[in-house]
């Protein structure tokens, strides 16, 4: 077997076959391992994404001809009260998710980090709902929040009547009900992430803080929180992206209703595309969503590249 990898002295002319083997066939042979992956990814994600951006500037309805309409879809979008409602709901969704599940995740992880017996079993229990599909969570909570069967009805028997109404059927509560169901299944994931980060914290820091007379809360505030900051910021990023793109729970529980009260951008896009067949308009919503998601993503990557420890 010839050793092609041995460098040929510059002074001697390189045989063409040997040169091709070294610079073309070998590298190509290596790329052949990556090629299937690249092709599938391009077909499923990259090519349709580029088409999606192009559709946003047309009035296409999915069949027939498409006309270039420039920024008309975006002009319509900025004057569309339902889109504005959906955007507002997404912002509410994101804000609530950034507060409640993170609080519960930090609480659960911090308490777990303080115990040794039973740590594994608690972590396991918190993690189970995270693995459930949206159809399961909604099945569980549609029943438990049902005005006739659920927790509300049970409490009403004892005269406590604040929960015995159709939460998903009322304009002022539908969105919050959805956030609750989604949050219930998600927060345990944060416990696992935060706990993993907290176990990396140097034990001596706590020892020093304790000797200085720090309370538990002070230890959490001044030792734990700064130490797990990278994980914390990363989870905030995932939450922002996940809640901005939220679809399943809204679609299944309310379909965006009643009267668009729980509409989010993803469900609105879905209705525009698959019920109104306004592919161009739906594509423009998709572009807005992608832009909105890319804001924190770009900030994050730029700061990381500059060497910030986030």
């Amino acid at each position: 077997m010839t050793d092609y990898t041995r460098a040929t002295p510059m002074s001697q002319p390189v045989p063409l076959g040997q040169w091709m083997m070294l610079h073309i066939i070998r590298p190509l042979g290596r790329w052949a391992f990556v090629l299937p992956l690249l092709i599938v990814n391009a077909v499923v994600i990259i090519i349709p994404s580029v088409s999606g951006i192009l559709y946003a500037f047309t009035d296409w309805n999915g069949i027939g001809d498409a006309n270039w309409v420039g920024l008309a879809n975006f002009q319509k979008l900025f004057q569309d009260p339902i889109f504005f409602q959906a955007f507002t709901n997404n912002v509410i969704y994101t804000s609530l998710f950034l507060i409640i599940p993170i609080f519960m995740g930090l609480l659960g992880a911090y308490l777990l980090a303080g115990i040794t017996h039973g740590q594994v079993i608690f972590r396991l229990i918190y993690f189970i709902p995270y693995m459930f599909s949206s159809v399961i969570n909604t099945q569980i909570w549609r029943y438990l929040l049902h005005p006739r069967y659920g927790i509300g009805a049970e409490l009403a028997k004892y005269g406590i009547t604040f929960l015995d109404f159709p939460i998903f059927g009322r304009r002022d509560t539908a969105l919050y009900g959805i956030v609750f169901v989604d949050g219930w299944h998600w927060w345990g994931f944060l416990v696992v992430l935060y706990l993993a980060a907290m176990t990396q914290v140097d034990k001596e820091l706590y020892e020093v803080a304790r000797l200085d007379g720090a309370t538990r809360f002070q230890q959490f505030r001044f030792v734990t929180l700064p130490s797990i900051r990278p994980t914390l910021i990363f989870t905030m990023l995932i939450i922002f992206i996940g809640t901005t793109l939220v679809f399943d729970h809204v679609y299944i529980l309310t379909g965006g209703g009643p009267a668009h009260a729980s509409e989010v951008m993803a469900t609105y896009l879905y209705t525009q595309a698959f019920q109104n067949f306004d592919v161009g308009y739906a594509a423009s919503i998709g572009v807005m969503l992608a832009l909105w998601v890319s804001v924190p993503l770009s900030i994050f990557y730029i700061l990381r590249r500059r060497g910030w420890e986030i």
Partner: protein, 277 residues
């Protein structure tokens, strides 16, 4: 006294942790118990332990929810996705980790962008493309989509595994004249199977649970997987809570069993997945 103070009582930890655990477990427990009740009993006993355990709910749910069909569909889709993704990702990860690939950085960036793009940007054009390619309402069509969605993450996970393998084995095989393919087949694969199991669990779970693409790309009742099949079942039999609860339990049972058996791998894989995607 001073010592006791410094040790800090951990009793409050256990109390709060137990309350949190009940908040996770009780709703699931209610689902299980209510899957054994008739509609009549649900009216009088909506949250308690069943007076009579109606196992026939499961038989009936299996029948009217068409679980024979939807479970088979889910197995085809999940199995196809696992095989497809692991093949694509295994080859890719091997090249990225072991062969000196020019432009590997560019590739990493490509996948970063590829996984960062929201589904909402491409789902409509993809739908139209699949319609034109006659891939709508086919299992193959959905499997290809799932492979495209999950292969970047699986590649990332497997690459990390392959990098950690000792170099000596590969070197030894190379000296014996093994080709790239032979090294992959006889050295890398037998050593890195734990990574493949982890990737398979994560990919399998996400395709088993997936809703958005399943509801968009498969409309025929005969082709639906368990997620959208259960959704259709819930919509049609919304008042038969006993039946739909039994249907939901059938969907989560395999997950819970697998999770309890392989929880370390599950948690490891899913937390890495969450951090990446």
């Amino acid at each position: 006294m001073l010592k006791a103070r410094r040790e800090q009582s951990i009793l409050p930890n256990y109390i709060i942790l137990t309350i949190l655990a009940l908040a996770s477990l009780l709703p699931i427990l209610t689902l299980f118990m209510n899957s054994f009740k008739t509609t009549v009993e649900l009216g009088s006993n909506p949250l308690g332990i069943p007076q009579i355990w109606h196992f026939e709910n499961y038989a009936e749910a299996w029948e009217v929810g068409r679980y024979g069909t939807i479970l088979r569909n889910s197995l085809i889709i999940t199995g196809g996705t696992i095989i497809g993704t692991l093949t694509l990702a295994g080859l890719g990860a091997y090249a990225l980790a072991r062969l000196k690939l020019r432009g590997a950085d560019l590739l990493a960036f490509y996948f970063l962008v590829g996984t960062g793009v929201p589904a909402q940007l491409y789902i409509v054009p993809l739908f139209i493309m699949w319609r034109d390619l006659n891939l709508l309402n086919t299992h193959l069509g959905l499997i290809i989509i799932y492979c495209g969605l999950s292969s970047p993450f699986a590649t990332y996970l497997l690459r990390a595994y392959l990098i950690s393998l000792p170099e000596e084995f590969v070197e030894a095989a190379r000296i014996d004249g093994a080709s790239n393919w032979q090294v992959l087949r006889h050295i890398i694969l037998p050593l890195s199977w734990p990574g493949f199991v982890t990737a398979a669990l994560v990919v399998g779970l996400s395709s088993w649970n997936e809703f958005l693409f399943a509801v968009t790309f498969l409309n025929t009742a005969d082709l639906k997987p368990i997620s959208t099949g259960l959704y259709a079942f819930q919509t049609r039999y919304s008042r038969d809570w006993g039946l739909t609860n039994a249907g939901a339990v059938i969907m989560i049972l395999p997950i819970i069993v697998l999770f309890l058996a392989l929880q370390r791998r599950f948690i490891e894989g899913l937390t890495q997945g969450g951090l990446k995607a």
